[in-house]
Symmetry: C2
Subunit: 287 residues, 2 copies
C-alpha cells in the first residue's frame, strides 16, 4: 500500500509514531499534521515526523488519501463537523481512540452516509504514559495488536486499506464488534487507570501526614506508572466509555470486598485461593 497524502489530526504519541513508521517504511508521500498547538506541530516538523502542518482541519484534509484522527475522545464530533465537507470523495478516515462506541456514535451523527462508509474505527493497543510528539517513536506498534471495529455501514475496501496501513506499521490487526472492544478495554486498560489514579491520589493526601512515597519500591513504581498518563485524555476515555468502566468497576468492588472480608476474618484459605488464581492467570497471560 502507498498513501499519497497522509493527514494526521492530532500529532501526539500515537499519531506521531504512526507517521514516523509509515515514513520510515516508505509507505506514504506527504504527511500533513494538524492540531491546535503550533509549538507541537513545529516540533513535529523539526523532528521530521510530518512534512508540514495546518491548524485548520478543513484545510489540512485537502487532497488527503488517508486521514487519521488521533485527538482526545471529547473532540471527535467537532473534528468530524470541521472536515466532512472538505475531504476528497475517495478519502479513507480512521481513528485511534481508546473507546469505540462514542466515536462510532459521533461519526453516525456527523458524517454523511458516503463518508461514514469510508470511516473505519480503530484502536492500536499500544502506548506509554508519555504524551506529545516528542514521545513518539516508529517501533511503538511493532508486534502490537490493533483492533478495528467496523460496523454494518463500513466499506470493506476502506477496512482493508486501514488494515494494510497498520500491518505496514508492524501491528497485528484484529476485528471485533464495538461493544466487545469497549467491554474488554474497560477491563484491561480503563479500570486499571482509574485504580492507579485513585490510589496515588489517596496516598498523595496521606503523604502530607507521613512521607509514604520515599519508601515506595519498584513494585509501586510499576503499579502506578499509568497514573502518570495524560489526565485530560484519560478523563475523556473514562467518560466516553463510562458504562463499561462502571460495570467492571462494580464487579471489581464486589470481588475486593470478598477479599477484604477474608483478610478481616483471617480466612487463609480464601486469601490463598484468590492470590494463587490471580498469579496463575497473570503468569499465563504474560508467559
Amino acid at each position: 500500500m502507498f498513501i499519497q497524502r497522509l493527514v494526521i489530526i492530532g500529532v501526539g504519541l500515537i499519531g506521531g509514531s504512526l507517521a514516523s513508521v509509515l515514513r520510515q517504511r516508505a509507505a506514504c508521500g506527504e504527511i500533513v499534521g494538524c492540531g491546535r498547538s503550533v509549538e507541537n506541530l513545529q516540533t513535529a516538523v523539526q523532528l521530521g515526523v510530518i512534512d508540514r502542518y495546518e491548524t485548520n482541519p478543513a484545510a489540512a484534509v485537502a487532497d488527503a488519501d488517508m486521514v487519521v484522527i488521533s485527538v482526545p475522545l471529547g473532540e471527535f464530533a467537532s473534528i468530524f463537523r470541521a472536515i466532512r465537507d472538505h475531504v476528497p470523495e475517495n478519502v479513507i478516515l480512521t481513528d485511534v481512540g481508546s473507546a469505540k462506541a462514542c466515536v462510532v456514535n459521533d461519526a453516525r451523527a456527523e458524517l454523511p452516509p458516503a463518508l461514514l462508509s469510508r470511516f473505519v474505527a480503530g484502536h492500536p493497543i499500544a502506548g506509554t504514559e508519555k504524551s506529545g510528539v516528542t514521545a513518539a517513536f516508529p517501533e511503538l506498534f511493532e508486534n502490537r495488536k490493533v483492533i478495528l471495529t467496523p460496523t454494518e455501514e463500513t466499506d470493506e475496501h476502506a477496512c482493508a486499506q486501514v488494515q494494510a496501513m497498520w500491518e505496514t506499521a508492524g501491528a497485528e490487526v484484529v476485528s471485533m464488534p464495538v461493544e466487545h472492544h469497549d467491554e474488554v478495554l474497560a477491563a484491561t486498560s480503563h479500570l486499571p487507570h482509574v485504580l492507579a489514579y485513585s490510589l496515588v491520589d489517596t496516598l498523595a493526601r496521606m503523604d502530607e501526614r507521613v512521607e509514604v512515597f520515599q519508601f515506595a519500591a519498584g513494585g509501586f513504581r510499576d503499579f502506578t506508572r499509568i497514573a502518570s498518563s495524560h489526565p485530560k485524555m484519560w478523563h475523556d476515555i473514562c467518560l466516553a466509555n463510562r458504562d463499561a468502566v462502571l460495570s467492571v468497576l462494580e464487579q471489581f468492588n464486589q470481588d475486593l470486598a470478598v477479599l477484604a472480608k477474608a483478610l478481616e476474618q483471617g480466612d487463609s484459605e480464601q486469601i490463598l485461593t484468590i492470590f494463587n488464581r490471580a498469579k496463575a492467570a497473570r503468569d499465563s497471560f504474560c508467559g
Copy 2:
C-alpha cells in the same frame, strides 16, 4: 565490618541476594544457609550463594556472628523458638520481613531479654515478583532503602552492625518506629498487592466469557506485575499487617467511591482534579 560466620535462614530472593553481595564485597567468611527445601539449598550451594547448609535452624546458628531471618512472616515464632537456646552469646539477629509489628511481637514473646536486645528488626525496600534463590542477584539492594525499626529494647551496637551490613550491600539505611513502618508499607506495598491480585482475579473470571487478557498492553502488564508475586508470602504479609492494610484499604475505597460517583454524574471537574493531582504526585516522586 566483617562477619566471620553469616547464617541466612530462608535462602530466597532476599536472603540469597544479601549473601551474594556480602560475599562479592568480601564482607563475610563462611555463609551457612538454612531452609526446608533441600533442593533450593543445594541450588544455592551450586550457585556459590552459600558455602553449606543445614535444614535444622538450631544446628545452622552454631558459632554464628550474624543471623538473618528471611522466612515468611508466619514462620518467625517457630524460628525464634528453634534457635534461641543455640545461638552464641554475642550473636546479632536481624530479619527482612515486610511487616514489623508482628515480627517484634514474636521476638518479644519468644526471645530471652539478652537476645531480644541483639535482635534488630529490618526491612529492605527491594524485591522483584520472582522468588527462590535462582532469582537472587547481588545488585538487588544497590541504592535501595533499608528500614530498621529498633525498639526500646534494642542494643545500639547491634543496630550499628546491622546498619553497616546493609550499607556494605549498597543500601541506604533509615530508622523509624515499628508502627510508622507498617502504616507506610501498607499504603505503598501491601495494598497495591491486594489490588493487583484482586483485579487480575476479577479479569481471569471475566476472561472465561470474553478473552480479555490477549488485548492487554504494557500498562496492564506493569500494573499487574506484582500479582505474579509469591502468594503464600503475600498471604502472610497481608495477615501480619492486617489492621494497617484494612485501614488504608478503607480510605482507598472511600476515595474510589468519590471518583466513581464523579464518573457516573459526568463531573468533569472532579475527575480532572483527581487525575491531575495523582499525575503530579506520581511524576514528582518518580522524577
